[in-house]
Structure formats: C-alpha cells, structure tokens
C-alpha cells in the first residue's frame, strides 16, 4: 500500500491509498480522479495516462521500459519528468509519491 498524491493541473489535490500491484494509472481511474484518460487500458499503446512525476521522486522510480519514451513523444506537452502512469507499479517503496497531471491528455 502506498499513499499517492495526484495533483490536477488546476491545483486540486487527491491523496489516495493505492494497493500494491496496481499501477499509478489504475489508482487514479478506480478513484475517479479527473485528468487520467487511459484510453488503451494500460497496454502502453496510447499516451493518455501521462503524468509529471515530482522531481525528487523521478529518479527513485523503476526505469522506463522499452517503448515508453516512444509513446511519451506522442503525449501532450511531455517534459523531462514525464511518465506513463500505467507503467508505474505501486509498491510500499512508492509511499508518498506525488504526480502532477497535465493540462489535458489529448
């Protein structure tokens, strides 16, 4: 279990307890947090679960898999701290993770 803070583009904060094994994307979708579309359902085939990971957290996350950066090229306004939230699996180590949501996904 990890407490994850999702911050909407407008500043609205959502602190959610997400079970281990789920992805950061699933944590958002299952709790109706606006701003994560996840059109492809987590198969890394779209770029609509794009998040900006808070700078101090970014290097602590498991590395991107092959293909994630290719999809991020197609995201809305990707930055150096961009990730696809469907590719971040939740574990106890992620307790306290903060992600910012982009202005929009498409």
């Amino acid at each position: 279990m990890a407490k994850i803070t999702y911050i909407e583009h407008g500043g609205q904060k959502h602190e959610i307890d997400v079970a281990n094994g789920l992805t950061v994307m699933e944590g958002a979708v299952q709790n109706d947090i606006p701003g994560i579309d996840a059109d492809c359902g987590g198969s890394m085939a779209c770029a609509t679960c794009h998040v900006y990971v808070k700078e101090d957290w970014f290097p602590k996350l498991p590395n991107k898999e092959n293909g994630e950066d290719d999809m991020l090229d197609q995201a809305y306004e990707p930055k150096a701290n961009s990730r696809l939230s469907c590719q971040i699996t939740v574990s106890d180590e992620l307790n306290g993770l903060v992600v910012h949501l982009p202005e929009k996904q498409v």
């Binding site: 579309d37 059109d39 492809c40 359902g41 198969s43 085939a45 779209c46 770029a47 609509t48 950066d69 290719d70 090229d73 197609q74 809305y76 306004e77 990707p78 930055k79 150096a80 202005e103 498409v106």
Partner: protein
C-alpha cells in the same frame, strides 16, 4: 443513398466479426471507418505486436488477426467506406438516416457502434497560436508534397512519419527537424539517413526542443522553439509539420443523445442496444457490469448485437437459431456448395 440492414461504425476486429454474424443470419451491412485501412486499433496501434488471448489462436499479430477476419467475411461482400466518418444521424420512422463527413447517406434500421475508443485523429500542437494556420501552413499530414518546393519547412516529431518526410522534403526544401529528445523512434536506417543529411548540411536537426509559438501576421513567418531550461530559438518557416501520432476522440457520437459514461456507452447485455432504439454499441466503446476490454468480448458482443438487429431489419420474421456446421441456409450464405 444506400439502404442496408445495419450500418457498422468501426472496422476493427469487433466491427468485422459483427459483420460476419449479421451475414450468417442473412442481414446485409455496410462499414464506415475513419482510418484509410481496415483493422482499427489492431492495425493502427499494434500491427506487429503478438496477441496471445484470441481463443483457439495461441498467437497472432494485429495484422494477422485483421487479415483473417477480412478473409472470414469475404463471402458476404461487405462494402467498406474508409477515410470517412459518420457525422449525423436522424430518426426517420423505422429507420435511421445517417450522413458521413464525405456526404454519403445511409438509410438503415440499425446502427452498430464498434468505434473502439473513438476515431483516430492526428495529435496537434498544444499551442493555441498554431490554430489559425491549421490546415494551411501548419499541417499534420501531407496530401501534395509539391507545395513545399523551395520553401522552409520545420518538421516536429521523432517517428517514422517525421523522419521519412524530413528525408523526402530535404531534396527540394530547406528542412529543419525538431524532436523533444536525442533518440528517434523511427527505423534505424531512417535515423542514419537523417544524420547523414545533417552532416552534409542538407537539413538541420534540433533535439531536446519543442514547439513554443508560431509567429506571423496572416502568413506564417517563423517558429519559436524551446528547450527544457527555457532557452528559445527562432527559426524562419513557410510551413510547419507536426507528426505526433494519433489520438482517439469520440467526436460526433457524443451528439447523438446516447448515454455516455466516462467515454463509453452503457448497453443492455442481451442485445447490446443503447438507450436509443436500433443503436447498438459493442467492443471497447460499450460498458456494462463486468465489461472486459478484450477482443474476445467484442466478438461475443457482436454476435448478440447482430441478433438484436434482426428484429428491426425483419420485423415480420422470426430468427431461428442455426449452426454453421449443419444449417444449409447458413452454408448457402457462406457460399458453400451443398450436395
């Protein structure tokens, strides 16, 4: 105007198999899809990726699955209307009158929405200032490459479309290629070619830059690009091309008075009909308790929706349940010769 028993929106696996099921029970259908090819997400997003959960097919790619489905519906001679999108629907007595973007009209008692997550559209620049040049000098696809001759063209993107057009247009235009990171995801041979062209001063490349703004009064004059540290650069441009892949949008479907729940359409699980009589939704676009976004679920949903269409297409007939293994009528529809 085309009269048909059912109009299917979406030529992905779910729409294709629904067409098969309609054919099996003796109904005609037409299929409209926004893409220029058959196959939907399977062909657009993952043609080469293996799929492992199609029943009785241990492994196949998106392209193989599509080709097999096309083969399977061959006996029914189904018409496809590709690169077109259903725009407007209107109830006319027992029928729906359907109009497409290209001006085609259909009259049908049944509409089956098998639209996946929506129609594919090119992803555009996030900047507002590009809007006023959209379709004129800011483009997301190329129809006529001769317009770029002797012009300055700034291309954004790191995939095959961006690389291929950079290579092609560098022959007769001043090309600048801009990508947000150092690595390109296009084919290695194209990446090598682009770097060689750069070495020979045939084109310029700026990596770790993205679009900041476009400038020009009435006519496009330049593009401002920025890096992650906020440094910006101005590049003169007659044309700007963006190749950021495709996004999926529900589009006009939102205007048809259907119940929508988080970009999906609630249906009953008996016939997959929506809240509108004669409009069905199957595949990724439909939702119901327990819904799984799997291709195999789409097949099941299509089979039931086809039966749901029957009562509106043949109100005076009763649908008899038949097996393809034994029914002469079904085998005739499949074009098989019976002795």
């Amino acid at each position: 105007m085309i009269k048909t028993d059912a109009l299917i929106i979406g030529a992905g696996p779910t729409g294709l198999f629904c067409a098969h099921q309609l054919g099996i029970i003796g109904l005609k259908c037409e299929i409209v899809d926004n893409l220029d090819k058959i196959g939907g997400q399977c062909i657009e997003l993952y043609p080469d990726k293996p799929i492992y959960d199609i029943p009785a097919i241990p492994q196949c790619t998106g392209e193989e699955l599509t080709n097999n489905l096309i083969e399977q519906i061959k006996p029914f001679n189904i018409n496809f209307h590709l690169s077109d999108r259903v725009q407007e629907i209107k109830k006319e007595k027992e029928n729906w009158r359907v109009k497409t973007l290209k001006g085609k009209e259909f009259l049908t008692p049944n509409i089956v929405i098998a639209g996946g997550v929506g129609s594919f559209e090119p992803r555009k620049f996030p900047t507002k200032s590009t809007d006023k040049f959209d379709g004129k000098t800011v483009l997301y696809s190329i129809k006529d490459k001769t317009i770029f001759k002797d012009k300055s063209v700034v291309i954004f993107g790191g995939g095959d479309s961006a690389l291929d057009w950079a290579i092609e247009l560098s022959k007769s235009s001043k090309v600048t290629l801009i990508h947000r990171r150092d690595e390109f995801r296009g084919a290695q041979s194209s990446v090598d070619k682009v770097k060689e062209l750069q070495k020979n001063n045939k084109l310029e490349i700026f990596t770790k830059y993205s679009m900041k703004d476009v400038k020009g009064n009435g006519k496009l004059e330049s593009v401002e690009i920025k890096d992650d540290d906020g440094n910006s650069k101005l590049i003169s441009a007659d044309y700007v091309l963006g190749f950021f892949g495709l996004i999926m949008q529900l589009g006009p479907i939102l205007d048809w008075g259907l119940n929508i729940d988080k970009k999906t359409i609630p249906v009953n699980t008996e016939t997959f009909e929506t809240n509108k009589q004669g409009i069905f939704a199957i595949g990724d676009i439909c939702t119901y308790p327990g819904k799984l976004k799997l291709i195999l679920s789409g097949f099941h949903e299509g089979a039931l929706a086809a039966r749901g269409c029957f009562k509106y297409a043949r109100p005076d007939e009763k649908l008899r349940f038949e097996f393809t293994t034994t029914s002469k009528a079904v085998q005739n529809r499949l074009g098989l010769k019976n002795d």
